[in-house]
Symmetry: C2
Subunit: 547 residues, 2 copies
């Protein structure tokens, strides 16, 4: 056994100079770059004991295998795929070039044994909000052991194991003796991408799912349609994308695309929660579905433009019932996000039929009552599909009656306002998700990951019981200003800050330590092929190869 007492992370070494931020204004205090005792781990596991004893790993002899005792075996392709993936991350060059094949150096650590401890590994299931993602990792010589009740924890532990491996000055892979016990602080750690304002090619979505797994995110919130375009190809209503997509076949997601994305995500322990936002944000729906939207009036006659979904026609609800029946089978996740935000009442107000309906129902001039009327019926429809639902906070604010398992998604206001909203939502006994401080589409100059990092979803006035109703949060990258050209570097590593906040212990908040680890973590993402942008002046040993 060769053991060195040095913990070097040359593979991911980054020099960040403390030069003055010339030509720029100091917007944020720059954190100091030191070496974290936790190397390049991101997000930080709940409990880490890392020794200075280092073991060598040889690409020729090291392998990831099922533990004999594991309830999961060769038939679990989710794990087999993950072994192959992490093998390639750990030995990106040596295996590909077959360099070490002739000189079969012995590894101090010859195997990582993956041991699924519960009878049902859940290998062929979809992840859910109750999935067990915990794991224990023991790195020792001659074997390392990764124990997890379910495959979901094994996936998280494999990522952690890969983050422990580093390269010494001679390019040799090493790993220190380590004990890790880990589990997520929050069950819902999401990322919202918007494929309506700009179409995102499949390749971009898959690359970002990959990066999500590296950051232990577990929910892809797919804001798939909205006003500008309707790229979801519906089997039941093909006209929706035929007319509503930017282009009927180059800018759509076919049923096969959707299936592939869901499976790619599942293999990484990521849920795909689709959002079909109504009654607002539906301009693109109207192109392929006659009479779905409210005709707006200019004085006594229709103006030719359309408003939100028309809530007074039975055909609307017939359509929604059929549409969400399809959606509930296409997307296996137990939840659907139903939107419900930002309904503009001006068109409804202009329409004489709507006015008549308001009077009949006794709504007076309170159009939020009409909105609630619509949402209530929609929720009833979706309930028949046996799905749970998530909705934006306005639906709660408007007093719509909701099922107890509804997730209220908080996105509005400044810090004081969103904290008050979290308090109100949880005081009403609802589960909640936070996004307000994590609107990553809003960029600013400098190290804005720090503001995202400092926000905490349980930081509001409330009882312990209320805090427990916080299921997690989501980073959101709305699509006005991003497409395939700039989405990925704009998202990473800024979203990584949210990833750690939602996974690690609430006391993990040392910005300097985070800066050190995140700088290395971003270089690792770059080396794995994702153009994650730099946090500050410096370099990666392996720079991005694209343009």
């Amino acid at each position: 056994m060769i053991a060195t007492l040095q913990f070097t992370t040359l593979l991911l070494a980054v020099i960040v100079c403390r030069a003055t931020q010339d030509y720029a204004y100091k917007d944020v205090e720059e954190p100091t770059l030191g070496d974290s005792q936790y190397g390049s781990l991101w997000p930080l596991p709940q409990k880490v004991e890392m020794s200075t004893v280092a073991f060598k790993l040889s690409g020729a002899s090291f392998q990831i295998v099922d533990a004999k005792e594991s309830s999961s075996g060769a038939s679990c392709s989710l794990l087999q795929n993950a072994y192959r993936r992490y093998d390639e991350y750990i030995f990106p060059i040596s295996r590909m070039q077959g360099q070490n094949k002739e000189k079969a150096f012995a590894s101090d650590v010859s195997e990582l044994q993956v041991w699924i401890t519960s009878a049902d590994s859940e290998c062929d299931s979809y992840p859910s909000v109750t999935s067990d993602e915990s794991y224990e990792l023991t790195v020792d010589s001659p074997v390392a052991v990764l124990k997890a009740p379910k495959v979901w924890g094994a996936l998280r532990g494999l990522e952690t194991f890969s983050q422990l491996v580093y390269e010494d000055e001679y390019g040799a892979k090493s790993i220190n003796r380590t004990e890790i016990q880990d589990f997520p602080r929050f069950a819902h750690r999401g990322l919202l991408l918007d494929t309506s304002r700009h179409f995102l090619p499949i390749k971009v979505i898959l690359a970002n799912l990959e990066a999500m797994a590296w950051n232990k995110f577990n929910v892809f919130h797919w804001h798939i349609v909205d006003d500008p375009s309707f790229p979801y190809m519906s089997r039941t209503f093909p006209q929706l994308s035929q007319q509503g997509a930017y282009h009927p076949y180059t800018h759509v997601y076919t049923p096969s695309d959707v299936k592939m994305i869901i499976e790619f995500a599942r293999l990484r322990g990521i849920r795909v929660v689709s959002e079909f936002d109504t009654p607002g944000h539906t301009q693109s729906w109207g192109k392929g579905q006659k009479d779905l939207l409210t005709p707006c009036y200019s004085g006594a006659s229709p103006s030719g433009s359309f408003g939100p979904v028309n809530p007074i026609l039975n055909t609307t609800y017939d359509f929604m019932a059929m549409f969400f029946k399809e959606v509930s089978t296409v997307f296996p996740d137990a939840y659907i996000h139903l939107g419900g935000d930002e309904v503009d009442f001006s068109c409804w107000k202009s329409n004489p039929d709507i006015q008549k309906f308001m009077a009949q129902q006794g709504f007076g001039t309170d159009y939020s009552k009409l909105e609630s009327f619509y949402i209530q019926r929609l929720l009833d429809i979706v309930t028949t599909t046996n799905k749970g639902y998530m909705i934006w906070q306005e639906v709660f604010d408007n007093g719509v009656k909701l099922k107890a398992d509804t997730l209220i998604h908080v996105w509005k206001g400044n810090q004081q306002q969103y904290q008050a909203e979290m308090a109100r939502v949880t005081a009403s006994g609802y589960h909640t998700l936070l996004s307000t401080p994590w609107y990553l589409n809003r960029i600013s100059y400098g190290q804005d990951w720090q503001a995202a990092y400092k926000a905490d979803p349980q930081d509001f006035n409330g009882t312990d019981a209320q805090k427990k109703l916080v299921v997690g949060g989501e980073a959101c990258l709305w699509g006005e200003y991003v497409d395939a050209t700039n989405l990925t570097p704009r998202l990473w590593p800024r979203a990584s800050a949210v990833g750690e906040r939602l996974w690690s212990d609430k006391d993990v908040k040392d910005t300097n330590d985070a800066y050190s680890r995140l700088t290395k973590h971003r270089c690792r993402m770059v080396q794995r092929g994702i153009p994650a942008e730099p946090l500050f002046t410096g370099y990666c040993a392996h720079e991005y190869k694209g343009v």
Copy 2:
């Protein structure tokens, strides 16, 4: 002759929905997207007469050729390379796939004849600040003619010609009958990239030179070294990059790299002006050159850290003479940028030898006099190499005596301050360049290209004679937060706004028309392989293929 009366730009068609900017705050007024009468031309030529008569172009029969009367022929590889490049831009798919080879459709326009009208085409020269970039373009059937006194104008005209070509609904290429007379408003239209804060792989530099040509930029200001790293490999002082680069061979520019970049730029009519900034911004120089930097003192003894270049040692000037002698041969351009900005006096103040020198020279405690002393000697040294120089505004502000052909580069302050500075500089009879409003590293949420677009370098209080001393300007992308992962989408099409401001007539300032043309221009850049980011919600017919 097939002539249609439609001017469609389906190839570059972009639908930008006027949806509310949901989930975002309105920072800037969104311009309206209409169709510009100028199609996708960017920057707008000085004089355009475009008819609605459209001609067909067939990839199988159309070609770009030297006009018989041209003073430039097959031996001019600059033009031959450009013909090949533009042929590929105009027929990106059909030629590559050889689709049209069998069915040789006739073109309404069968040739673009390129006619260099002056006896010396300057084909084998380097471009300079006095290069003639004017051209006249006549598109008619059966031939189009591009007349230019020099190759530089021909390059600009080829780009314009390629921008006139569009695709109809059936994918057929068309071009309208057009007359263009064009020349740049300013002779110096630069882009600064910083390869010290982050190393930029050659590939990234070349891609951005390519994009510069599409936007009619003609100066690459290469801020090659600075505090954080010294990637320039010097033949005379190899230790500078050996010790000062982030990595001695993966993060350096070898003499061959530099040569290649200069030639690649020349072929596109782009000058390469190198900046070796002293006496500040030189931390990385000190690593490979003993005694070059000033030792800082803490009380009576050296603190171990170093300040600006040591201006009191003869060895400093010996080094500078040898170093700039090399630089003046490596970079053929007539100008060198000598920096001279942001000199921090605290280290000089702490050093007893410097204090003694100050007393001897009678400088009192005015360290700007010491700075001027250094700069004056440096300028004398560089003058012996027969180069002109550019310097940042501080050198002028400090009253250093400058040669009459010196270019003062204005970069500081708010609008009022930089306009006052432009007035002072030109009142003193110096030529000047503006950069303050074009620090594109400073990002903000929304359509910030508009602010860059609205700035005008001649917008200050001064006489016509003063205005004529404005040579142009430069967009700057300082490197704190950009590297290969995010530089290109962050730069384009934001820098395009500066490109039009510096090329087109000063009255070209209709933001709505610009928005329409720029939206199409950015899709064209994407189709040519550059990940130029979107201006707003919408799509390109051909989305970016990378991640």
